[in-house]
């Protein structure tokens, strides 16, 4: 069974909601759309207070190439253009829409019929990318990198393989798993679209073998697509990291930054993104809803929701039986890479793959003790770095040494901190160091 070479850890899987089918979440009373739902320049609002919008009306347009537009996921009236503390913890510009009814834009095809690639032989790669760009599709795994940028390889590079990330290595999360079980045909058309967009003839879908039902179903359905291969992978965190997945599936290693996956001929997209691409291109539907797992050990009924973007997290928690009394932390995303939320009014955004409610016992960090030089963090690092050293150099602000030791290669997966027997808060320090060093490098490049 394939997997990546270096490091990795095995956190308990806790996939509590794996058997719960995707449920349509209720419409909120008010939906809030942050303009910062992607990496890159924030979107520019194009609506004003009092404007009437439908599902699929443009709220904010992309500002530059690395940016993505934001569409309304509800119908109603724009209440205000203001700011909200979003999942990042920062106050950001946002558009508030009071919901009235559920009216969709006429151009969106809401039928459930499957449109295959063979039904639309006229589509050119340029058209596909343009449609994806216009629909505001971003990486749905959580990184939220605008999708069309990845599908436009820079000059001098050539894509050879498309790899679909259906690993879902984060504990607790089951959104991608359920999506594969319920929408396999649509996903496969989405993969075919990506392959056509970048002009490759070989695609892989990497799935960890803790999802045997998904592997079975996808293999069965993929029989009709000889160019798409399902690759079962050995369970290991962080296999869903782009570089780890490339190594696991095609055995190539992405060099240190600034190299990106396309330099080894790979285009990686999340399985949720493939589905969004199918809807954007074949159904003319912008990215207005996504699957999100709401889970937690103390939660009454962990559920996978198909939620409109902009729905406040609190309404989803209420639909799962309300916030448990012993809640210690509410995390946006999974337990390994997610970020604790400061309030529950944070809206669902394009990158919200999960909402995890930790009880007080789980949420508590262990007491930090001195490093015992066991080097477990070195063994766990999937990038072959020395986390103890990086954490120390950043704590002592030795940015030069941090840079020499490739702090920018860190993918912030948290394996080092997870494995540390002394509960050292390695990742906290490494993150500070990484952002500082990246700032220094940017400043240096700007000077040149």
């Amino acid at each position: 069974m394939k997997t990546f070479r270096l490091g990795g850890v095995h956190p308990s899987e806790n996939k509590l909601s794996a058997a719960s089918p995707i449920k349509q979440a209720e419409l909120p009373k008010q939906a809030v759309f942050s303009t910062y739902q992607h990496i890159g320049a924030p979107a520019k609002p194009v609506v004003a207070k009092g404007d009437v919008v439908k599902v699929g009306t443009l709220l904010a347009e992309a500002d530059g190439f690395v940016s993505a537009p934001v569409y309304s996921s509800v119908s109603g009236k724009v209440a205000k253009v203001d700011a909200i503390v979003d999942a990042s913890g920062y106050r950001r510009p946002a558009i508030f829409v009071d919901v009235e009814g559920d009216e969709w834009d006429e151009s969106i095809d809401r039928s459930q019929t499957l449109v295959k690639l063979s039904d639309r032989p006229d589509l050119t790669p340029q058209e596909i990318v343009a449609k994806i760009k216009a629909a505001g599709v971003v990486g749905m795994g959580g990184a939220t990198f605008p999708c069309h940028v990845k599908l436009s390889p820079p000059p001098g590079t050539k894509a050879e393989y498309v790899i679909i990330n259906a690993v879902e290595c984060e504990p607790y999360l089951t959104a991608d798993h359920r999506l594969m079980l319920e929408k396999p045909d649509e996903i496969l058309v989405g993969v075919a679209l990506i392959m056509k967009a970048v002009g490759v003839t070989k695609g892989f879908i990497g799935i960890e073998n803790n999802k045997p039902d998904a592997i079975r179903l996808m293999t069965e359905k993929a029989a009709a697509y000889p160019e798409i291969e399902i690759v079962p992978l050995q369970v290991k965190y962080p296999q869903g990291g782009e570089k780890q997945l490339i190594q696991a599936v095609i055995g190539r290693e992405v060099p240190a930054p600034p190299a990106i996956p396309i330099h080894v001929g790979a285009v990686v997209q999340n399985v949720g993104t493939a589905f969004a691409i199918y809807e954007a291109v074949m159904k003319n539907k912008p990215l207005v809803e996504r699957v999100i797992t709401v889970t937690g050990k103390s939660l009454q009924s962990p559920t996978n929701f198909l939620a409109r973007i902009g729905t406040p997290m609190s309404t989803l928690i209420d639909a799962c039986g309300g916030l448990p009394e012993d809640t210690g932390k509410v995390i946006g995303g999974g337990p390994m890479m997610g970020k604790a939320l400061l309030n529950l009014d944070v809206p669902v955004c394009k990158g919200s793959s999960g909402l995890l409610i930790m009880n007080e016992k789980e949420a508590r960090r262990g007491e930090e003790q001195p490093c015992i030089r066991c080097a477990k963090c070195v063994g766990a690092c999937p990038m072959g770095l020395e986390p103890y050293l990086l954490a120390t150099t950043s704590a002592f602000r030795n940015w030069e040494k941090a840079e020499q030791n490739n702090i920018v290669s860190c993918i912030e997966c948290g394996s080092c901190q997870f494995t540390c027997p002394s509960n050292r808060q390695l990742l906290d320090n490494i993150r500070v160091g990484k952002s500082t060093v990246m700032g220094l490098i940017r400043a240096r490049n700007a000077k040149k």
Binding site: A83, V85, R91, K339, R364, R365, D428, R431, S435
Partner: protein, 313 residues
């Protein structure tokens, strides 16, 4: 005997050759260093705090000598040694320095536990930079003091501490040398170097919240909401309002304390003034709660604007 003689001769020759090589090398590879650099470095405080912007005291000494060769010491100041040290540096270099006002680090946040309710608890590394990555930190204020003490760690003089009761940084004015290390470190740019002012008295807007008034008002009882009352009140046009935040220009401020009264949120604070009298009367007895000495200095300093301000109270 012969053996000893040979040994002495051989060693003697080796010694002579080595001496000759060393002498030649010392002449050939000699690096000239201006003797004034070490002289200047001697009078510097040797705190190596980097507050002057140069790597340590010797670096600053080198920069001073270079500047003196170019004709002026303008803009060169050792924040630790202050005016006295700069005068000695100037005398070594045969220059003169103009007077500059002594400064002090000011923490522009009054978001105490009482004023600014905690909405979350942060259990990560006690570092402001780490806390900053979580968003607004333990409070809902996206601008205020995070209270993790990065400034405390960089202060070479033990002049800053986190008050355990208020949870925000506090500067000891006696110990502060205005080296500026805390100013550079604070990730939220709360600390500012301001002139100490006459008798250490100054007016400060104790807030850096640039959010809209309604938002700022909600997150902290002592926040500046950008209402502009102080701007209208100030008779000297010393206060400016930009992005919902008032700023008092220390050069223009005449310490009349009118803005302090005008501020509806008590965001403007008068520092080191004696406590106000309960009724408008010429100052006589010193009220309790403040050191006697300070009150006495007030009666000696009859600044017209200042007394006027006090009578208004």
């Amino acid at each position: 005997m012969n053996l000893i003689l040979i040994a002495v001769i051989v060693l003697g020759i080796v010694g002579l050759v080595a001496a000759a090589v060393l002498y030649a090398a010392s002449k050939k590879f000699a690096v000239y260093e201006d003797p004034r650099i070490s002289q200047v470095a001697e009078v510097l405080p040797q705190a190596n705090c980097g507050g002057c912007g140069y790597p340590g005291c010797s670096g600053f000494a080198g920069a001073c000598v270079k500047a003196a060769d170019n004709g002026s010491l303008e803009g060169y100041l050792c924040p630790v040694g202050g005016q006295a040290v700069m005068e000695r540096v100037a005398s070594i270099l045969g220059m003169s320095v103009s007077a500059s006002a002594p400064k002090v680090a000011v923490v522009r946040c009054n978001g105490t536990c009482e004023n600014r309710p905690r909405i979350a608890s942060f259990d990560g590394v006690r570092s402001c930079r780490v806390a900053l990555m979580t968003g607004t930190g333990e409070t809902a204020c996206a601008f205020g003091c995070l209270g993790c003490g990065d400034c405390v760690n960089v202060c070479q003089f033990g002049a800053i501490r986190i008050n355990p009761e208020t949870g925000i940084a506090e500067v000891d004015e006696e110990l502060c040398t205005a080296c500026g290390a805390c100013v550079k470190t604070c990730p939220r740019k709360i600390i500012e170097l301001r002139p100490k002012g006459p008798k250490g008295r100054r007016m400060v807007v104790k807030c850096v919240n640039r959010d809209k008034g309604a938002v700022a008002n909600k997150v902290c009882k002592a926040s500046c909401i950008g209402c502009g009352k102080c701007v209208k009140t100030c008779p000297f046009e010393a206060i400016t309002l930009s992005s919902n935040l008032a700023y008092i220009d220390p050069e223009k401020c005449k310490l009349c304390r009118k803005c302090e009264e005008a501020c509806p949120k008590n965001a403007i604070q008068a520092v080191n003034f004696p406590p106000r009298k309960p009724k408008p009367a010429p100052e006589t007895a010193a009220p309790a709660g403040r050191p006697q000495a300070e009150t006495q200095t007030v009666s000696e300093a009859p600044r017209p604007a200042q007394t006027e301000g006090k009578e208004n109270a």
